[in-house]
């Protein structure tokens, strides 16, 4: 293990311990409610970047995966009262399958066509769920949270901890991909798919793999949301706002490094929480859109890129 990864795992463990301590010490429920959403966006943004950042395929279907995660959990809970871990695992499996299907779409589509196809997928799945009576149809469905289990005296605290676990998992996977041949292959096909194919990069397999991993993580991140909200309806579970938020977080943070989406999600997620509480949820989407456009135009490499450039300048100044 390199020094880098040792410090990563120490950091991850410290993070989880801190989260666990938080659930034991803080009595007020609000920090968990707000923190949960931020952690959820961290997972989604990191997962999005695996396909969107490394491979350069802009996926507008984040909300499709998120919604599928939510509804997998809803279905399992209603049909079998399945525990949370089962809900998340099943959602990840469904997400992987959906990611596989999406990966096959990339066979023939690139650029804008792929992006439009992911929107299409979202709406089609949303419409199907809307017409599925068992999980509530268009009207939505109410769910009753079970009581918290040890060591958590409250279910929301547990969800908060579970989402923190997913954050660590997602980042670990993204780190691994970035450092391995998979990441380099994705990078190559992002720069020039034809050239990559010619030099022996298995582009199709890599793209499908990226779709599968990204999809599984997004669905897993969505699964606990059913229990978190105690309610699910198609138009909010599949809301395109998730897609634009996650897209904005990833691009604003910067997609060249796994830390980019993390930084972006924490920054924007926190801002969103503050804005939603203090002003309104419309203004919060507006701020998100404006930030997205500004960053895409002015700082295409995102915050990570800005930091790197600043570092280079300082080093350049010394010599």
């Amino acid at each position: 293990m390199t020094r880098n990864s040792i410090s990563f795992w120490i950091g991850a463990t410290l993070f989880l311990v801190a989260v666990l301590l938080m659930t034991q010490v803080i009595g007020n429920q609000y920090p968990f409610f707000a923190g949960y959403v931020i952690l959820q966006f961290v997972v989604l943004a990191v997962a999005w970047s695996i396909l969107g950042g490394y491979a350069g395929y802009v996926n507008f279907g984040t909300s499709a995966f998120f919604g599928i995660g939510v509804y997998t959990a809803v279905f399992l809970f209603k049909a079998f009262s399945a525990p949370l871990a089962v809900q998340i695992a099943a959602a990840a499996a469904v997400g992987a399958f959906l990611g596989f299907a999406l990966g096959l779409l990339t066979l023939r589509m690139q650029g804008i066509f792929f992006s439009i196809a992911t929107i299409a997928l979202t709406i089609i799945i949303e419409t199907s769920v809307t017409n599925w009576r068992y999980v509530g149809g268009a009207a939505g469905i109410q769910l009753q949270r079970p009581p918290g289990t040890w060591p958590f005296d409250n279910y929301v605290q547990m969800l908060f901890f579970v989402q923190a676990l997913l954050v660590v998992l997602a980042i670990a996977i993204a780190r691994f991909i970035q450092a391995s041949w998979i990441g380099r292959g994705l990078q190559a096909l992002k720069d020039d798919e034809l050239a990559a194919e010619c030099t022996g990069v298995p582009t199709l397999r890599l793209k499908v793999l990226a779709c599968v991993i990204s999809g599984a993580l997004m669905c897993a991140a969505g699964a606990p949301a059913a229990m978190y909200l105690q309610y699910a309806d198609p138009s909010s579970a599949f809301n395109l706002n998730y897609s634009v938020s996650v897209l904005a977080m990833s691009l604003i943070g910067g997609t060249a490094h796994w830390a980019g989406p993390v930084v972006g999600a924490i920054l924007l997620g926190t801002t969103q929480q503050l804005l939603t509480v203090t002003i309104s949820s419309e203004v919060n989407v507006l701020v998100l859109g404006v930030m997205l456009v500004l960053f895409v135009v002015v700082a295409p490499e995102g915050i990570i890129g800005l930091i790197r450039r600043a570092g280079n300048n300082r080093r350049g100044g010394k010599t």
Binding site: L105, F113, I123, L251, V290, V293
Partner: protein, 290 residues
């Protein structure tokens, strides 16, 4: 059987209307290759401008659509310039960020409309809205007929413009071979900017039709992403006649599914057809590219 015939007739009328709202995209995306995801948002914005003029000053919606056309043209010029300076000129990685850029713009427009007009549905008033024609048992809403007539006129005008006028031919030339145009001493960027202006200007009347046919709400653009891109991709990028035919196919398919399965499946039809076309025949039915 009567029901089916009804559906087909309404579908054809509706289809022409879909053609009208897709024409702009057919130029901007089909001919210029701009990943214009914000096209439907521009369209809804135009509808709200028409609503505002109609509600405040009682101007006829179609006239209002014509009135805002020059403004939209200027808006299109500025939008393309911004897009060109920030993405096309720099070249690398324009794909990802260009799409994100237009997606962001679409959301900004949506939210601004919500903040200004609220989330409620808005509609316009005019003498031809609400009446219907009766032919035998068939009942054809008059607003659809108006939309049909105006849409057909718009399509013909734009087709003529692109095939008969100097600027129109230049636009098609720039779509075919930008480098060749540069070698002929023409400035392809200026032509593309002009074309994008035209593509946006057409939205004035199209937006008027949108709000004549049915009430609009700020998030309506999401549904129309499916409809407009379905039409343009099915038409084969950049073909105006193809746009009309593809739009009619979509319109008929939508009304038939509506009649048979109910309204709750409606949003998925255009997206499903879009996916189908992309998967099976990406060059579209009347494609200019092999």
């Amino acid at each position: 059987m009567d029901l089916l015939l009804d559906a087909v007739v309404i579908g054809v009328l509706l289809g022409c209307f879909y053609a009208a709202v897709s024409l702009g995209l057919s130029v901007s995306f089909g001919l210029l290759d701009v990943p214009h995801v914000a096209h439907p948002a521009f369209l809804v914005m135009a509808s709200y401008a028409v609503y505002f003029l109609n509600d405040r000053f009682g101007i006829d919606p179609l006239l209002a659509g014509l009135l805002i056309t020059p403004l939209l043209f200027l808006f299109g010029l500025v939008a393309y310039r911004l897009y060109y300076e920030t993405f096309e000129k720099r070249g690398s990685d324009a794909g990802v960020r260009g799409i994100a850029f237009f997606f962001g713009i679409a959301f900004i427009i949506e939210v601004l409309l919500i903040l200004q007009f609220g989330v409620d549905q808005r509609s316009v008033t005019a003498s031809y809205i609400g009446k219907a024609w009766r032919i035998g048992d068939m009942r054809i809403p008059f607003r659809l007929v108006v939309a049909f007539a105006v849409a057909a006129l718009l399509t013909i005008l734009l087709t003529l413009y692109l095939s008969r006028t100097f600027m129109g031919r230049a636009i098609r030339a720039v779509a075919q071979d930008q480098e060749a145009l540069r070698l002929m001493g023409a400035n392809p960027i200026r032509i593309k900017q002009w074309a994008f202006g035209i593509a946006t200007a057409v939205l004035g009347v199209a937006g008027a039709l949108l709000i004549i046919v049915a009430p609009v709400e700020p998030t309506l653009d999401r549904t129309y992403i499916g409809r407009t891109f379905c039409v343009v991709v099915m038409a084969g990028l950049g073909s105006m006649t193809g746009t009309l035919i593809a739009a009619i196919i979509l319109g008929v398919a939508e009304t038939i599914v509506l009649t048979l399965f109910g309204a709750s499946w409606a949003p998925a039809i255009s997206f499903a057809m879009l996916l189908g076309v992309l998967a099976v025949r990406p060059q579209g039915l009347f494609g200019r590219r092999s």
